[in-house]
């Protein structure tokens, strides 16, 4: 059963001269209880993709130019703003990268968590705050009853992220969009938050879209992964398949640039060059200027996703060779 079905999503941003696509042709399916990783470098479009799903991008600058996002037999991209508001927070919730700036500083954490309950279910402030205590306990905040009157700045980074997760889970959504939820946190805290997300998935069957640039995080937590580059899907499939048998030079580059103890002392390989700016995308495959596998065809025409294995697709014409050639 598919919970969320994204097909051909294209998000454009207006620039003074023309519209550029930050996300172009994104497709994936999400099942209940599945954790899907959306991975890529800065500027790869992963955050924009995530926000597009909830239509949280500024309407003056961004627009969904194409694609469908099917959720419970409805295309989210075609809902009215009022209908979309009911979906947000209630069916699909979202947590963000920097918990310090994403929590309103003048609200108590109790009120921040109670808010969606009051708006979506018309609960009284008292009942909602009672539930907030329960939610704080669920996300592992000690002495929850004593915390709801406190303000976000009185919590540590990891605790703030727990507060944000508690607020996101208040209405028991089916899907959680997590936009780099651990990037701003210490490594030890990072692991705790990921553990918490896995726990929540196991207990409640929550499906999670995890946006991250950290392929290590993907390896530890995700069931499936979509690798984005310059707004295009380079490769997607089960985490195991993609990370152990990458079929795209970009994925392979990301994996090779992970530090390992085996290669201690050796120079860390990296992908040369930088992602192209969105208004000056290269012709053909967007990765070809940085790709050592590139051939003429890659410079000429866009490369479409091709199934390489069951549930595993790559947008590389030379995917068969990617694994065979040494680093």
């Amino acid at each position: 059963m598919t919970l969320l079905d994204v097909a051909g999503l294209r998000t454009e941003f207006a620039t003074p001269t023309r519209a550029v696509a930050a996300v172009d042709g994104l497709s994936f399916q999400l099942r209940p209880g599945e954790i899907l990783g959306l991975v890529g470098e800065s500027g790869s479009g992963k955050t924009v993709a995530c926000r597009s799903l909830l239509r949280l991008l500024p309407s003056r600058r961004a627009r969904i130019a194409a694609g469908t996002v099917m959720f419970e037999n409805r295309d989210l991209m075609r809902l009215s703003e009022a209908e979309m508001r009911v979906v947000r927070g209630r069916d699909i919730a979202m947590i963000f990268q920097n918990p310090a700036s994403h929590l309103d500083p003048v609200f108590t954490v109790g009120d921040l968590i109670a808010e969606p309950l009051i708006w979506h279910f018309g609960e009284s402030r008292r009942a909602a705050r009672k539930r907030a205590v329960e939610l704080l306990r669920q996300v592992g905040i000690p002495d929850p009853a004593g915390q709801i009157e406190r303000y976000p700045h009185q919590f540590s980074g990891g605790m703030k992220q727990r507060v944000m997760i508690a607020a996101a889970l208040a209405c028991e959504p089916k899907i959680l969009l997590a936009d780099e939820p651990t990037t701003a946190l210490d490594v030890t805290v990072q692991a705790q938050i990921l553990r918490l997300l896995l726990d929540l998935r196991d207990r409640t069957g929550l499906a999670i879209v995890l946006v991250t640039h950290d392929i290590g995080v993907v390896a530890e937590t995700c069931d499936s992964v979509v690798v984005l580059y310059s707004g295009r899907v380079m490769e997607c499939g089960g985490t195991q398949d993609v990370l152990t048998r990458p079929r795209h030079p970009y994925t392979r580059g990301l994996l090779d640039s992970l530090p390992t103890t085996a290669a201690r002392g050796a120079e860390l390989p990296s992908i040369s060059g930088y992602p192209p700016p969105l208004d000056r995308l290269p012709q053909g495959c967007r990765f070809h200027p940085r790709c050592r596998f590139a051939i003429d065809r890659c410079r000429r025409e866009p490369i479409e996703l091709e199934t390489v294995d069951d549930g595993h697709a790559s947008a590389c014409v030379r995917w068969r060779e990617v694994m065979e050639v040494g680093p």
Binding site: G89, D104, V106, E115
Partner: protein, 312 residues
């Protein structure tokens, strides 16, 4: 509630400030050119008479001793006698406090009532026709000088339409409201635009904050986010700006009270300066200074109430 503890000990911290203010006002009078005794007695006084007066008022003593004497009197509420009113300075000044205080509060309330809805409407859709209209109002309000505006309002509402009295303070609260409407409006036409511009800019900046995205993701209606979150966060800088402007306004009442003949401290200040009634000038200066200190104290309390992150 420990964040509000400063309300108790702040007055103690303000003591040095008050002493500083007293020194400055004391020296101000000393700096006035001419000999007070000669001014008091007039140009034809004999040197003997002048010397006598100097001795009587302690003007022949060293400055430090004079200051000690001044402070001793000040603490007993003894501010000397007014030359013009031929009455104790304290009683002259006392009567003038209420009209000025009434006018200031009236003007500030009117300004806030005007500024908040205008700023909220302008920032709701930046660049909209409403926003443009508000911009025209604020630019015009900032550009018009208070004395000119006061006279124009008076001509229109008092003399042409006969809706409001030309001058005075009236008897009883309702009459005060009626009498001081035009002066308060003059204040607010000058003050509201400053607040509108600041609040509008802050609202627009706050609308770009990360927490706004987070609130949208929760499914809150845009209006609830705007009024419940964005507005509350935007008030913090605007309240501080209001505090600065009220401090400035305390001196600014001099012009408005003169135009509308409001029997307040500002008007008293002007007439005392022209009448060389230096002890009254000194007392009013002191009142203004204390007013500014109180306003800042009050702003601190409001800031702490609005912003849980602030510790005083």
């Amino acid at each position: 509630m420990h964040r509000f503890k400063f309300v108790l000990y702040r007055p103690i911290q303000l003591l040095p400030v008050l002493i500083g203010v007293s020194i400055v006002t004391f020296i101000l009078v000393q700096l006035i050119p001419g000999d007070p005794a000669r001014i008091l007695l007039g140009a034809k006084a004999t040197p003997e008479a002048i010397a006598e007066v100097r001795e009587k008022f302690g003007l022949d003593q060293p400055l430090v001793l004079q200051y000690v004497h001044f402070m001793k009197n000040l603490l007993q509420g003894e501010l000397g006698r007014s030359i013009i009113y031929r009455a104790p300075v304290l009683s002259v000044v006392e009567q003038r406090v209420a009209p000025t205080l009434f006018l200031l509060i009236y003007g500030v309330v009117l300004s806030v009532l005007l500024a908040v809805p205008l700023a909220l409407a302008a920032a709701w859709r930046a660049g909209s026709s409403v926003d443009q209209a508000v911009r025209v109002f604020s630019t015009a309000g900032i550009g018009l000088p208070a004395f000119w505006l006061g006279i124009m309002l008076m001509l229109l509402f008092s003399i042409e339409l006969r809706l409001f009295p030309v001058s005075g303070y009236g008897e009883g609260a309702l009459s005060h409201l009626h009498h001081l409407f035009l002066p308060a409006l003059t204040i607010s036409i000058a003050l509201a635009p400053v607040l509108v511009r600041n609040l509008r800019a802050t609202l627009l900046a706050q609308l770009e904050s990360d927490y706004v995205s987070a609130e949208r993701a929760k499914g809150l209606p845009e209006r609830a986010i705007y009024l419940g979150h964005v507005f509350r966060n935007s008030l913090i800088p605007t309240v501080n700006l209001l505090g600065v402007n009220v401090s400035w306004l305390i001196g600014g009442t001099v012009v408005i009270e003169s135009v509308y003949s409001v029997p307040g401290l500002g008007q008293l200040m002007v007439s005392s300066i022209f009448g060389r009634d230096y002890l009254v000038v000194q007392a009013v200066t002191l009142m203004f200074a204390i007013g500014v200190i109180l306003v800042n104290f009050f702003v601190d309390i409001v800031t702490v109430a609005l912003d849980p992150r602030v510790e005083m």
